[in-house]
C-alpha cells in the first residue's frame, strides 16, 4: 500500500499494465517526454521506452483512429486526450469506427482501446477546458464510459478498462486529481493523504466495470452521483444532516441498475447530481430508468441537480458548478421540506 493521489494512482495503473502486457502502450499530446499535462504518464517513457510511451502530433482524430487500427491489429493502446474538451475532432472515429467495429464485423474485429481524458470544472478553465461530455458517449451504443471518484477506484477501474475488449471512454475528474473537492471552493484545499481511498495497492488489482459503490448508507433518500459530484453530495448530506444513501456510479455504461433499484425501492426518493449541462444529460437517462424500475416505490418526484444549459462560464464558475447548497435544496425538496 502506498498513499497516492489520483494522478499517481492512474500512473501506477499504466505502469502495472505496461509491465504485465507488452501490447499495452500509451500515447497522446505531451504524454511521452513531458509526462502529460497533469503528469499522469510521468516516468513511463523512461521506463518503457519511446516505442511504448510517446508524444503525438496535436491531432485528436488521428490519435484515436491510429489507436483503433492498432487495437484491431492486436495491440491494447491507451490514449490520452489532453482535455475532454479536445475530444470532438475524434468524435467521428469514436462513434463511427471504435463503437461500431465489433458489430459490423460480426465480432471478427474489436477496438480494445482506452481513451483517458481529464474532464469537468472547478479550475477556472473556461468554456473549453471544463466540460463534462459523458452524455455524448453514453448515447452511443458500443462504448463504455467510466468516471472514477477517488485514487483507489481510479487505478482499479483503469486496469479494468485497459483489459476490457471494448472501447472505453475513461473520464478523469481533474478537480479531484490532487485532492477530494466537495464544492466548497472558498475553503482550504484538501489533499488525498489520510483518506482510506488514497491507500492504493502498488500492484495489480481490478475494480470491475459495471459495479456501483454505496459510499454512504442511508434510508431517507438515494443520491446518484459520479466523479467530483460524489464528494459534493457527501458534503451536502452531512451538512443538511439528511440520512441520504449516496451511490457512486463509477461506470455509466455498463450501469449498475440493480444497486440503484434496490436503494430507491428502499428510500422511495432519488436525487441525481451531475456537473454536465442539464438537457439530455446522463441524469435524464437515470430519471427514466429509475421511474421505469421504481415507479410504484417513489414518494416524490425525482430531482436532478446539474450544470446549467449554458457554456461553462469563466466568470461564474461557482454559479454554474452544482455545489452543496444546490444539492441540499434538492434533497430538501424531495424530503418534502421546502425550507
Amino acid at each position: 500500500m502506498t498513499t497516492m493521489n489520483m494522478v499517481k494512482a492512474l500512473n501506477s495503473a499504466l505502469d502495472v499494465m505496461m509491465e504485465r502486457d507488452p501490447n499495452v502502450l500509451t500515447f497522446g499530446e505531451d504524454v511521452g517526454y513531458f509526462g502529460g499535462v497533469f503528469r499522469v504518464t510521468e516516468g513511463l517513457q523512461a521506463r518503457y521506452g519511446r516505442e511504448r510511451c510517446f508524444d503525438t502530433p496535436i491531432a485528436e482524430g488521428g490519435i484515436v483512429a491510429a489507436a483503433i487500427g492498432m487495437g484491431a491489429h492486436g495491440l491494447r493502446p491507451v490514449v490520452e486526450i489532453q482535455f475532454a474538451d479536445y475530444i470532438y475532432p475524434a468524435f467521428d472515429q469514436i462513434v463511427s469506427e471504435a463503437a461500431r467495429l465489433r458489430y459490423r464485423s460480426a465480432g471478427q474485429f474489436n477496438a480494445p482501446i482506452t481513451i483517458r481524458s481529464p474532464y469537468g470544472g472547478g479550475i477556472f478553465g473556461g468554456q473549453v477546458h471544463s466540460q463534462s461530455p459523458e452524455g455524448l458517449f453514453t448515447h452511443v451504443a458500443g462504448l463504455k464510459t467510466v468516471v472514477p471518484s477517488n485514487p483507489y477506484d481510479a487505478k482499479g477501474l483503469l486496469i479494468s478498462a485497459i483489459e476490457d475488449d471494448d472501447p472505453v471512454i475513461f473520464l478523469e475528474p481533474k478537480r479531484l486529481y490532487n485532492g477530494p473537492f466537495d464544492g466548497h471552493h472558498d475553503r482550504a484545499v484538501r489533499a488525498w493523504a489520510g483518506r482510506a481511498e488514497a491507500e492504493v495497492p502498488d500492484g495489480y488489482y481490478r475494480v470491475p466495470l459495471g459495479k456501483a459503490a454505496i459510499v454512504r448508507a442511508g434510508e431517507a433518500v438515494t443520491v446518484l452521483a459520479y466523479g467530483t459530484m460524489v464528494h459534493v453530495a457527501m458534503a451536502a448530506a452531512e451538512e443538511a444532516q439528511i440520512d441520504a444513501e449516496i451511490i457512486d456510479l463509477r461506470t455509466l455504461i455498463p450501469l449498475d441498475i440493480e444497486t440503484i433499484e434496490a436503494s430507491v425501492r428502499r428510500t422511495g426518493r432519488c436525487v441525481i447530481v451531475h456537473e454536465a449541462t442539464r438537457t439530455s444529460g446522463f441524469g435524464a437517462e437515470l430519471i427514466a430508468l429509475v421511474q421505469e424500475h421504481c415507479f410504484y416505490h417513489l414518494e416524490a418526484p425525482i430531482e436532478r441537480v446539474t450544470g446549467w444549459d449554458t457554456p461553462y462560464p469563466h466568470a461564474f464558475e461557482w454559479e454554474y458548478f452544482p455545489g452543496p447548497a444546490r444539492v441540499i435544496q434538492a434533497l430538501r425538496r424531495v424530503m418534502g421540506d421546502a425550507t
Binding site: G61, A66, A67, G69, M70, S96, E97, R104, S105
Partner: protein
Amino acid sequence: MVVKRKPKASNATAALAQAPISNDQELAFYRDMLLIRRFEEKAGQLYGMGLIGGFCHLYIGQEAVVVGMQSAAGKGDSVITSYRDHGHMLVCGMDPKGVMAELTGRATGYSRGKGGSMHMFSREANFYGGHGIVGAQVPLGTGIAFANKYRGTDRVSLVYMGDGAVNQGQVYESFNMAALWKLPVIYVIENNKYGMGTSVERASASHDLYVRAAPYGIPGCQVDGMDVLAVHKVAREAIAHVRSGAGPYVIEAQTYRYRGHSMSDPAKYRTKEEVAQMRQEHDPIDLVRRRLIETLEVTEDVLKQIDREIKEIVTEAADFAQSSPEPDPAELWTDVLIEA
C-alpha cells in the same frame, strides 16, 4: 496453361520488383478483374430486383487498381478501404458467396448481414473493412501499420481512398504520423475524377493528388489506373520500398468509374460521351484481353474458358445469397459489447 484462381502473393523484394511479368500472371490479372466486373454487374442486377437494399457502390471501371496493387502484395499485408469495397474483398481472397450474401443482408454474409455493402471484414483475409465515412479508414490503416512495425514484422498496410477523401483533414494527420514514425503504409488514392457528383476540379485546389503527401517527405507517383500492368509495376516498387523500412508511400491511380456513385445517381455531372469514351478506349479488361491475344498469343478459347468459370462463380454467389436465410432477430443484440 494453368489458370490460377488468384495470383499467389509474393514477397516483394527489390529484386522481385524488377522481375518480368509472366503470361500466367497476366491471365490472373484478367481473371481477377473479370471476376470483379461480373460480380458487380450481378450485384447491380440484384439491386434492381430489390434483393440488395440501401447503398451499393460498384467498382466497375476501376478493377485494374486493386488487382494491380494486390497482385504485388504479400501474405499478411493488410487492406483497408472505403465503401466502394467489393472488388477489394474479392481480390483479398474473400469468398464471393459470403460477400454477395452480406450485400443481400443474409446470415451467411461476412458480417452476418449486419454490415451490408459498405461494412464487411475478414480477419482471415487481413481485410479491415469496408468503411462508410469518407477518409475515416485512412488513420485506421495508419494505426494498423503502426501495429506491424511495433511487432517487428515486415508486413505492409495498404490503405485505399478516393479522390474525395484527400480533402479530409484526417488524411493529413495520417500522412504526418506515418512520415514522423516511418510507418510501413501505402496510401493508394483511387482518383476516379468524381467525389459523388463533384469533379476533382470543383473540389480540389490542386489536381495532382499524389503530391499532397510530398510536404511530409512522403514519396509518391501517379499511375494509369486503367492499366493493370502499370499499376502492378508501381505497386511492386512501392511495396518493396515500404517493406524495406523506408516509410510510407503514396500512389495516385488515375481511374474511372462507369456506373453512378451509388445506385441512384442522376449522372448530370458528366456527359454520356465521356463515359462512353472511357469504356471504349480505356477499359482495363479490354486492354489486358488485347494484350493477351495480340502480344502473348493466348487463344480465345482460353479466355472463354475463364469467362465461363467466372460466370459460374458469380451465379453460384448470387444463388447462395438469395437462398441463404436472413439473420435471426436475436442477432440485433449481438456484438454490441463483449458481453452481448
